[in-house]
């Protein structure tokens, strides 16, 4: 039975557009906040994970590359990666890094620190990205964009590596937003569920 295709089955294209836009102008990185806000709106407002289930561009991108293109080796993910300790630990680390981006943007906005026009991959490797920042915006706006793009690119790289080695949507097992929204949904769920 062939499933009907809907417009939201093509949202994986957004992943490509997002990273391409950030390559041209880093300020487009702000659009990454959509991937932070929408899951929370669905979870807090609707008590569901509809974003993960239907609208997540990254999840769809991993499915397309892993299943349809066939890039995934489909190995079994180790148990520790599926465990609560790793999932919640990674979520805590990820959001600590997110709040560090906000703090760094505050320091730049307060002129305590200068704007660093680099994209940091895997919190270690600094990639020169100075050609992208051309618009005349406040330095903290640009700093937040560089930070958010770094975080999005880093998580995308981790997601792609997990897709290549394990099953296509392995990233979803330890996705910080997925873990957070499932926790919210569990807190909101009626006791019989």
């Amino acid at each position: 039975m062939k499933q009907q295709r809907h417009w939201y089955h093509y949202l994986w294209i957004w992943s490509i557009i997002y990273f391409s836009l950030g390559f041209v102008n880093i300020l487009f990185a702000w659009l990454g906040l959509i991937s932070f806000c929408l899951p929370l709106i669905f979870a807090i407002g609707g008590g569901n994970k509809l974003f993960c289930n239907r609208y997540c561009d990254r999840g769809q991108f991993l499915r397309v590359m892993g299943s349809q293109v066939g890039l995934s080796m489909r190995r079994e993910m180790p148990d520790w990666m599926k465990g609560k300790a790793f999932r919640y630990g990674f979520m805590a680390f990820f959001f600590a890094m997110f709040f560090n981006i906000i703090y760094t943007s505050y320091l730049v906005g307060s002129e305590i620190q200068n704007l660093q026009d680099v994209v940091t991959l895997l919190w270690t490797f600094q990639l020169p990205w100075n050609w992208t920042y051309t618009a005349g915006v406040s330095p903290w706006v640009a700093q937040f964009a560089f930070g958010l793009y770094s975080l999005m690119l880093t998580s995308e790289v981790i997601a792609i590596v997990a897709m290549l080695i394990y099953k296509p949507r392995s990233w979803c097992v330890f996705c910080p937003m997925g873990t957070l929204t499932q926790t919210i949904c569990r807190a909101k769920a009626s006791p019989e569920s």
Binding site: M1, K49, C52, G59, R87, Y166, Q182
Partner: protein
């Protein structure tokens, strides 16, 4: 009442991350996400084909013979 398939998908609710991969791949439209917490098969739709178990990234689904 429709005759149930001899095999069906069983979800480990503790392992399930409610990502919706099973919903996406199920050819029968038999998987549902319950309140954003875990996946659950619709028993009279599930034919136990194993597509969901094959794709589940958390390996939270097994196909078992109905008791």
């Amino acid at each position: 009442m429709a005759k149930l398939s001899p095999r069906h998908a069983v979800v480990d609710r503790d392992m399930c991350v409610a990502c919706g991969t099973c919903v996406d791949v199920c050819p029968m439209g038999a998987m549902k996400i319950i309140q954003g917490v875990y996946a659950s098969p619709v028993e009279d739709k599930c034919v136990g084909c194993g597509m969901c178990a094959k794709e589940c990234p958390a390996s939270a689904i097994k196909v078992e013979v109905r008791s």
